[in-house]
Symmetry: C2
Subunit: 418 residues, 2 copies
């Protein structure tokens, strides 16, 4: 089944907010083989919203809209939905109760604007938003097409999505089965991997589809397909996945859709390792990336952001002479940082970075984007250290993200080889 | 002037990649009062792309498309543009040279797929992409409408945008002048601020527009307007900004569009302070947020991610007895962490967090979302500490983001009051 997404909000068109709801919706419905085939971003403007709904229903049986439901003045979505689906706005007792609960949990007082969030069109049925004040509203046309209006706040949409998708599946039962598999591949650029797989991809049957999803220094490779025979499509995807694994070899980091941080945490859990970081140019991003994952506290002991040379010496015991001779961005320093992180935190596996994130600070010998990375592993009292120097391109953020990924993968490789 | 954006790529419709280019484009053109009035996301499919172009040109004189220009098979955009604008694909020498430079800078070899990136339609003029292999292509219709095809990789689009916008301004000189101002406001919810400003907003003249842009624990308030008289609109926006500042009072954190981290770094620069962090539940995110900003290395000394109690004691000198009596998530512990960060790094201003980011780990006394935050300031040998306990809602990521913002604001307040 196809789904049209309508994103409502001037803040998106002005570029002030990045729309993440489309991705959340597409992933949620994608699990069942449904596809978002059309996305429109429109202003907080009644005519624009009505035009978008007409186009959405031309393309799809289901529209999911997000946004335009906030308490401030520019949000005219609810009145526009009354124009489209009929009805008037009335206060809904269950929504009001939900709002009152939320407001008291946040230790705030209910004001008139927030209370107005409980006004909903009589033409819809309400799906409770348990984490926000704007309710989710379900509308149906006489032709049994459905529009679900969801709030714009990403975590509210994310929270309500499972229930919305379940209701849609009840309303539109599908004969098709969808299967997919994801490989995480390191050590290849997108074009090198595409070239490596070109012959194989050429022979792919029409019911299977391969997609390349490059991330900084990593490629997600996704194979999927839809078919009425569930067993057939599942075994086809499985077969293709196994063929890819043997074609790509050791560059396959995982056969599931996992981030490098998730792969490393999982591998540490299996081998009873604990993690530490010593970050200069990545400035805490490696630790942040690891600790974003629920349950990281069992594995991550801690880390040190050693932005200044002083902190590198104080907390990581980097030798002043090496800082002087080789500079902070050097293999000797980053290797000492990795070892120092183990000592300072008592962890058994560590990563360290030192580099020039830019945009300033580059020299001909050490250009912007140059990052030295090390990993250290302590096993039975012996410490093993590996290191590399990378040259990344792009913005400061991209250099930091790329260095983070490489550091996680360097630690992973050290652990797997040990 | 209005601009239509077309985002091309299955990866966006599948939810595997979040589109950030629309926001970058909208912000770039927004500086000149131009508006993105229409965004369409379409598949890597010739018919879908052609339909989107037709709609785009119905709505606007300019289309900016992003994506669909990668080296792998699903990228059929260039051939589709030949169908729309005429011409055939030929190898462009200047593009090939740029690609060769890039490939050698990355210490890689040129393969056939990458070389094919130098094939461009004869019907376009090329704008060089200095940081990627896919060139930017400029097409014009007989009616003098323009389509600019940009690559999908965000930092490539970001890098090429200033030149594209300059060329568009030459082609479409505008009589209108645009002015805007942004206030960063803390200590208000969106609805409380909207209520506070309701009377004032009611009286706003039609050439001015106020927008609320809520972020976790922070609101960006933007006032803007367009007029043929530059001086008039600039003084109108300035007047409105000053009125807002006096209406909102001390909750105004900045009168420019700055993040809390930028405001804090700037304030530290002015007062010759250096920064340190001691992070438990935020896991490095405060340090990461600060060090993402170019030039942070002058101010940020370093930080400690003390995820385990052991690291809290080792590196931050938190007393074991307080960890035992009050627990890691407590005001006594987080205050010691803040002081410990000053001692460990030699910085003069610090922030510390300890909390339950979730989804697990909550108890009735210390629920998920509870975070203790402290800031410590060292002035003339005296250390002053402030702290607060917050109760955040939402996902793990949102709790971490909210705690990060509050910690930065707590340090800022401590610094401003001192």
């Amino acid at each position: 089944m196809n789904i049209s997404v309508i994103v409502i909000g001037d803040e998106i068109l002005l570029g002030q907010v990045i729309d993440t709801n489309t991705s959340a919706i597409a992933k949620s419905v994608g699990k069942y083989g449904w596809r978002v085939n059309d996305v429109q971003v429109v202003a907080d403007d009644a005519e624009a919203i009505l035009r978008a709904i007409d186009r959405g229903f031309r393309n799809s049986d289901v529209i999911i809209s997000t946004g335009g439901l906030g308490p401030t003045k520019d949000d005219i979505t609810k009145l526009t939905l009354c124009r489209k689906f009929g009805g008037t706005l009335v206060e809904d007792k269950s929504v009001l109760k939900n709002i009152e609960n939320l407001v008291s949990r946040r230790k705030m007082k209910l004001n008139d604007l927030t209370r107005a969030q409980a006004m909903v069109p009589t033409s819809c049925s309400v799906i409770q938003n348990t984490v926000g004040t704007a309710p989710v509203m379900w509308f149906e046309t006489p032709e049994a097409k459905v529009l679900v209006a969801m709030p714009g706040v990403p975590f509210e949409t994310l929270t309500a999505l499972p229930e919305v998708v379940n209701l849609l599946r009840e309303k539109f039962p599908s004969p098709d089965h969808y299967a997919h598999a994801t490989l995480m591949v390191g050590d290849f650029t997108e074009s090198a991997l595409a070239e490596h797989l070109a012959d194989w991809e050429e022979k792919l049957p029409p019911h299977l589809h391969l997609a390349y999803l490059p991330q900084p220094r990593l490629i997600r490779l996704r194979i999927d397909g839809t078919h009425t025979d569930r067993q057939f499509i599942e075994s086809e995807v499985e077969r293709a996945k196994n063929e890819l694994v043997s074609l790509i070899g050791s560059a396959v980091l995982a056969t599931q859709d996992l981030t490098p941080a998730e792969i490393l945490l999982e591998e540490c859990r299996k081998t009873s390792m604990t993690l530490a970081t010593a970050e200069s140019c990545t400035g805490g991003n490696i630790a942040h990336t690891l600790t974003l994952i629920p349950g990281a506290s069992d594995i991550v002991a801690g880390g040190i952001v050693s932005y200044s040379n002083d902190v590198k010496m104080r907390l990581l015991k980097v030798r002043a002479s090496d800082l002087e001779t080789h500079g902070a961005v050097s293999i000797p320093v980053v290797e000492q940082m990795a070892k120092g992180a183990l000592q300072a935190t008592g962890a058994t596996l560590s990563m360290a970075t030192s580099g020039i994130a830019g945009p300033g600070g580059g020299t001909p010998e050490k250009p912007v984007g140059m990052v030295c990375i090390a990993a250290a592993l302590c096993q039975e009292g012996n410490v093993k250290v590996v290191s590399e120097t990378d040259y990344f391109t792009g913005t400061r953020k991209r250099v930091i993200d790329s260095a983070t990924t490489r550091a996680l993968l360097l630690a992973l490789r050290l652990l797997r080889k040990s």
